[in-house]
Symmetry: D4
Subunit: 218 residues, 8 copies
């Protein structure tokens, strides 16, 4: 019989009441040690936090986090580099950060590192090269993913954002730029999908963990 793959479980907060969200968070945290809910508006978030003081709200990411027993949490070896330009994309960056934490992945952030701040990427290039995956969070012209992917051999995920205006068309411009990257092997997730980019990174770390496990067993 075909068994479903086991992905890190996350609560989709939209269209749900505070009670529903909290119940799901508690159920998942019980098992995973940590639980997160996405797309939670500030009103519902306040209600949930009032009901359970252990829940905290990451406002820019519109996410709720419940850490119960972090020793229970399955940690994956390896690391994810989050590279982004300005403060405009902070919501999407934070969604990645919280999501990856909930999925047991270690992530570090290189901010102010857009096309106008390439020197910061160059300064931190060794850390980026040592990561197992790079997520380039990239609004406006979307050039960041191409530039980074030309410098490193590790897997690069472009996460276009809806930052910008006019002919950015709510993220279409950076999405197309990333799909047409002149550096080889960039792959792309949906606009503003911190969730999607994190899960794609999780798949890569998970596979690497399997390899590590096989080798250390042997």
């Amino acid at each position: 019989m075909v068994t479903k793959a086991e992905f890190p479980e996350v609560v989709w907060g939209e269209h749900k009441s505070a009670a529903q969200v909290l119940a799901s968070l508690q159920r998942i945290a019980e098992r995973q040690g940590m639980a997160a809910a996405t797309r939670v508006g500030s009103r519902v978030a306040a209600e949930v936090c009032a009901l359970d003081a252990a829940v905290s709200y990451v406002e820019p990411a519109r996410m709720l986090v419940l850490k119960s027993d972090t020793t229970k949490q399955q940690k994956l070896p390896g690391s994810v580099a989050l590279i982004c330009a300005g403060t405009a994309d902070v919501g999407v960056v934070e969604e990645c950060r919280v999501m990856l934490a909930a999925a047991g992945c270690y992530a570090f952030k290189l901010a102010e590192s857009g096309v106008m701040g390439m020197h910061r990427i160059v300064q931190n290039l060794d850390a980026v090269k040592a990561a197992d995956v790079v997520i380039c969070i990239t609004g406006m012209d979307g050039g960041l993913a191409s530039v980074v992917a030309g410098l490193v051999e590790v897997p690069v995920i472009a996460l276009p954002t809806s930052t910008g205006y006019g002919a950015a068309f709510s993220g279409v411009a950076p999405m197309l730029a990333a799909l047409n990257s002149s550096a080889p092997g960039v792959c792309v997730v949906n606009i503003d999908s911190g969730f999607g980019a994190s899960m794609a990174a999780w798949r890569i770390l998970k596979n690497a963990a399997r390899i590590r496990q096989a080798l250390t067993k042997a």
Copy 2:
């Protein structure tokens, strides 16, 4: 000083003469043991093959391949599963296959495995789960990547194709479907970009190889 990453070198055949293509193939094969050229029309291909009998033409992929001394070729451990539906996408599938071979990656193909042939995927699920990356080559409704990504935890790259007509809009329909996958963590490359999907897979295998190397050293 910043050093460029070292990607597998491939000849972009468009707008080049037979002599130019052959020279590049020979230079790369000398170093890499095997060389490939993409986007080569049948006329130029015939000329190149006439000039050097060691070159062969993979017609559906519009690629030329020159194998000189395969012992020189750097092979990466691990494997790539190529899943596709019908014969319509054969050109893109073949571009992946040749590209991955040229990049030293082992790939195997599951054909006739679209949404209408899910039983074939289920029959081969163990092999797919054992792969390090899955590339879903997917025209028309693009549903294949979602379905596969729901069954396996390994990295999934959706490669939309321009197969189809009318409201497929030359690959836009499957590209959008893949970007909106209901299974978590699918990532997407450009329409018909066998090259892009292969290089994204290469990045993942390359990173896994680095992990293997580090562990076996230790």
Copy 3:
């Protein structure tokens, strides 16, 4: 002289006052035994319900329902299967459910049955195959209609929803996916059009009823 076809009458609630909506509901219920109004905001809905206690509000569908004398209602034999994924599409699903009830059609719902919940469709496949029409309510990647249509021979109507974000383009992605279904003979209605899908289903049940009538007469 050409006589107009007789479709089930429904009140289009938009841009109408509570009094206007109620008058229309009462006129229709008088004749059809049951009446429904679509696109009714919560404020107008509250006013109508205050005016006539027999009217109830189906909030997620933004519809008002007035049942007067259900013995008057013309019931069509046969059934409609409503298949949907998560809670995000509940508004559109409910619009179908209420609409079909108002049109005298029996409908049953298979929830949590998206591409990630295929096992639930498989478990209920006999019921789906026994239905006269299947409506697949499908946001995001729109793959649901293709998968279902590959399993059953009964008519399949894809009802794309505006659920999702970014490159879902408010329902364009699942609409295109459904129009390009790799399973044969899927047909599609407008995005979020619970009304359209229900009326298309009604046409099929109505025609089947005519066949039944002709055969039992004979």
Copy 4:
């Protein structure tokens, strides 16, 4: 175990040699009594016809037909009305006609019956109302499906065509018009997809046949 639905088998002719097409036609005709191949260019068609005199080419539809033993063919009761405007859509109309014949469905054609020829539809309204499905083949403004669907209660499938130029955008204009039909319950298939419309009609006739069978058994 889940068994696949049994759709009428058709040969997809694109990218196939004459020998491959013929072999498939013969295999299917052997079982179904009649076989058809779509998307066959004139050159391959001529080759196939030269190989087997029993095969004939329906040029406007770019289809090949092989009738072996028509007594073997499973015929479905009921009828399909094909309504179209001018000669420009003849290819798509013919694809429907041949496709439906191969699927065992009886179809009749109302030509010259676009928005500018409504009188012809009115003259033949009884026949249209007696059909089990209407397929409106409709380029340019796509108004035909709305007009017809306002006159009859039977299921209406809009089949937009790429006829027209400029702002018709290769069938997008009539496709959008049909998706927004002001008559209730029109459903839509892909642009130029005679195959899709026919299979959607087949599903409706097949279901009606099942009803007939159940009633006559009882």
Copy 5:
């Protein structure tokens, strides 16, 4: 020296204060006998009406009207037929009606006359044929202009509206349908542009008036 054409002057109300709008209305009414302002929100409208009791607000059209001395108003002979479907387009229809009145053109309205209400057009066909221009106000499938233009020889202006949802794309669907009209010689103005359609009608009546004048002079 090139002199500018003299169009009926209208106040564009957007981004203007009540005092500014009123001053413009009074200046124009002084000269033209009647003045109108478009795109006036309800708040500014209330302020203007409070300042000058002679001004009235046509709420669905979001227009203000000031009639001072209607004997001063230049009336054009001839008439404009406004044909529309349901109540959803009432704002655009009213913008036409007020606009034409301010421009000295006589207009009459045929409501509930969409594709589903063709019998009403047929009943009033003589009046429509006697008009000098027909404006078809048409949301959703936009089929109305084609149908009307097939019945009359007088100039037909299609005025697409943003009524509808999903694949209507805020008026794009009916705009494309009108641009691809299968009836000859339909011309189209911008979505929701009651102003544009009225001024196009004014040009035709104005030209007809010039002809009348020339003939009666002679």
Copy 6:
């Protein structure tokens, strides 16, 4: 009983044989004194001209013309100004010219009169103002219609062309520009539709003729 409007009959040449085209031309010329066929390729055109020496081919317009007895032709009083920029739009301009001639309308052409040749329009402004309709044939930026419509009060029809490249998107750019004209009352027909613009002009002249007739009768 509803009688169809009587439009000037024209042969749609696409997908027709030389014999079919000629037969239609002869039938129409017999009645109208002159007949025209549109969308005729050079090969079919040569065949028709070889069959009947009275037929001539207007190559840039891809039209055939047959004049039999021009005394039979119904001429409409008034005139149409055709304003265009460069030689690139000559095909569309010629389609208008031939079409209008076949419809009995007098037309004159102002060439080299685009936005870069405004002085030529200014020099000929009296003739333009004396016309009953102006057709602005306008590729690239589509600014011509706005500029002309700001100078004259007569009806202005914008006929966008597919001339240009890149972001002209085969006529979309000038079509959008014309739909958004800053001069009041410009109306628009489909891209490259010399037929549509001519028939819209015919409607205006026809209506003016009716007015003339009524006044001269009285």
Copy 7:
């Protein structure tokens, strides 16, 4: 070592608190003599102005300005002409004006100078020709840039605005018109990007200043 270019520094106000905006303004004004912040909503603006009386709010441009010691400000020789049509674009025009002032560039405005007000451009043509750059702020049909660029040889920057409705598609129509200008050498910046147009103008003035400097040195 590569040194970054030195652009005039501006505060991007979006997503920032009043305190953050003020701190940045003061830091920049300290160095540049004048500082500006863009995309500041009225609430934050009021807070900033309350904190520091030297800051003023340019409401239509949604910008804050802080002038400290204007003798410190680096002024560039030359001038920029801002040409615009009506009051609708005032926000974008003001963003240009303030931005250029903050960048040390002298600008003058020609208002009411759209395609319908060409006489005003002609009257002021000498001033326009004497400018070093012309910025055409242009909504709706976007024809302004073409017309102006046909009259002058100085660099012309088209700045499309989101003014308009329906088929203006929030600035897409004028953007496409400008990209397809029939006058040679128009270049285009993003929709509503007063910032972008001003910086492009600054680059031209800066380069001209360098030339002046080189010549006067010599």
Copy 8:
């Protein structure tokens, strides 16, 4: 009286015979010392070259050049940097080069300098900074203009090309990227418009020449 600006005259070769092209070239060369024709196919080009040996064909640019008396040619001081990535854009690059030569502007080329070849730009940065204008010819992801514009203060014109496939949408992707450049003040011309970019550069050099002239006079 308004006098037209005097732009360098160029022959638009499309839709013209060899004789017409040659006559125009000779007339312009007579006056300007050098003349060029764009959009000339290879067949017409061969005819022109056969008629006049002084004419040469620049095949990748599809341009003809006639140099008569280069002492007559008006040369503008200053220089234009043409920066491009690979060989794929050679046609557009050459159109710029020939166009600028014909307009009397000095241009130099930095090839192989895309996002993957940034080191070449860095090596040549002094030359680029010394130029008066930079034209970035940029297909695929269009990131080149952003990167270059972040390094230099001189005017930067992005010239997107139709190079690429799939989601490059024939130049739309790099065009949008350039319009959304994260570096300030990039301006953009139409896709593949070597003509447009060159004329925009010419305007800047021309204006700089006027400044030089004024200063040296004084």
